[in-house]
Symmetry: C2
Subunit: 338 residues, 2 copies
């Protein structure tokens, strides 16, 4: 008798109007109708990203946009710095290694944030690193990394700043232009309240100059092909049209309040979630906790797998459970309108 509540760190529940949009008949992607829709979506993404940089839309999961942010910036054999503190920041390294990039790794224990001063020393030491890859909100631990601080600490360098914002953009403060993020990656199905299957990245002018400077091992993720499409706007390959139509509705909902007000609301919800979990004996994993999602250890003696299963069967609440090295966790992404 309980309503289904999807409280995983993504995908999130879709707003009613986005679901109804999904049910509309498919439109052709080479049509004026779709071009207008895509233009509105790209404009909405720029607003959410707080940027005037180009924003590109890919038909893939967030990982596809992460791959695009690696192969288009760092040629094989060149150097990249990766900040690691969990399963998703590890992914940056794995992608870079798959394409023969030399990786310099700065690792902190899971649950800990990166120290901007340490990052600055690393960038100074490896001044030949083309790009530095980091994470806004580490989904596997619920840590909020200090992207503003990291950006300020490396501002004078030639190293491009690339941020995986997949699990946070839309829900938590992230100012692409004001902070100086060269490439910000996001996915539709988390803070943007859209359906899974779409990913985005913003590209700064100096990042574009790097993209233009070499031939990349890429075709589906060749960002120059996506940039050529921006004039239409159009996409180089068939887009996931129904998902774009639905995302358009989700972005309208997001834009119905000022971004600052929305971030403040998510901050309050995040704080409430952590306080609530602590009163029932659960301990947040992160030392610098994120507001877009929460990860917590269960009390000793509680079986994580059974707990997650019962939360669903008894209360209709779907959370993500045990993963990798952490004992047990609870996730919740507080989002607009519920």
């Amino acid at each position: 008798m309980h309503d289904f509540r999807l409280l995983t760190p993504g995908p999130t529940k879709l707003p009613e109007q986005s679901r109804l949009a999904l049910a509309r008949q498919v439109i052709h992607h080479r049509s004026e109708e779709f071009r207008q829709l895509l233009a509105e979506v790209l404009e909405g993404l720029k607003y959410v990203f707080q940027t005037r940089n180009d924003v590109l839309l890919l038909a893939s999961s967030g990982t596809g946009a992460m791959e695009a942010a690696v192969v288009n910036l760092v040629p094989p054999g060149r150097k990249a710095i990766v900040l690691e503190s969990g399963k998703f920041s590890e992914r940056w390294r794995k992608i870079a290694e798959a394409f023969g990039i030399e990786v310099v790794k700065y690792e902190v224990p899971w649950g800990e944030p990166f120290e901007p001063a340490e990052v600055a020393r690393l960038v100074e030491k490896h001044s030949d690193a083309v790009a530095l890859y980091t994470t806004l909100q580490e989904t596997s631990t619920g840590v909020a990394h200090d992207i503003e601080g990291i950006a300020r600490a490396i501002a004078g360098s030639n190293t491009l700043l690339v941020v995986d914002g997949i699990s946070g953009v839309g829900a938590v403060e992230c100012r692409t232009d004001a902070w100086g993020i060269d490439v910000l990656v996001a996915g539709a199905q988390k803070g943007l309240m859209g359906p899974p299957g779409l990913a985005f990245l913003s590209v700064s002018p100096r990042a574009w100059r790097q993209v233009e400077s070499f031939s990349r091992p890429a075709f589906y993720f060749d960002l120059l092909a996506y940039r050529r499409g921006l004039a239409g706007p159009d996409t180089p390959f068939t887009p996931a049209t129904p998902l774009v139509v639905a995302l358009c509705e989700s972005l309208r909902a997001l834009r119905s309040v000022p971004m600052e007000e929305h971030w403040a609301r998510c901050r309050a919800l995040g704080a409430a979630a952590r306080a609530g979990l602590q009163t029932v004996g659960m301990k947040p994993v992160a030392r610098r906790p994120a507001d877009g999602m929460t990860a917590a250890y269960l009390p000793a003696g509680v079986d994580g797998k059974a707990f997650v299963a019962r939360l669903y069967s008894r209360f209709g609440v779907r959370v993500s459970g045990v993963k990798d090295s952490l004992r047990a966790r609870l996730f919740g992404l507080p989002i607009l309108g519920r």
Copy 2:
């Protein structure tokens, strides 16, 4: 007052039940509910592909699966044969070149089919070619290539046969196992009557042996990651869940009649479309015409762009118009249930 009729060679209109499925609340992809759904979809795809080989599902457009079929089979510096006769078969070459693969090109004029005997000679001459890339239905010309004949002609060789079936699979006869296709690529939004944003490929045991034999420049399209997921079944990255839910309904509709009966119906519709076009002075482009779609030249003096626009504004019929080197074209994909 006219009903909207989407008659492009993809995307096609979605069956009612698939649209309603899209509107359901998003489910979590790491759940038993999704695993059951994915298992049914993969089983349905095997049936449509007429194969017992593994079939993998990607969150991307068809081009993403084409890229996967290139980077996972042919190491950079090694040789591939590409059969070219239009915009989409050209794409095989462009992908291979982007990844530093040596391409041997066999080209026939647009509108012409490949000669199996010529293909056999080419494969014999280039016995060091790892794979041969060809196309079931060339969307830019409406040619049906003789995949059965090509497969028979090169059957004794070590060269893997890879077929882009994106615009035909589901609508026209294509027997993966009986003909001996090592890798068949398809997209959801054409003959399968699903929404755009999903792509698939089947992989034969000898193609898997080639995949396992080298380290590929791939992460999002690394097929070994997708194969590891088959045990769940699961996907290595967040799938486009709503699209999978909708495709499941489309596949149920497709499977409601035997495959042979469905192919026969599409053959009849294709023949009817060509006959109808000829009575109003349009000439099919293809010498060996496909049944899953039709491309035709407009009569002299008719402005292609204006014709396509008027067909939509006056009759609600959406077709694809002029492209690349051909003067003007009409497309129509006859599909189940309309």
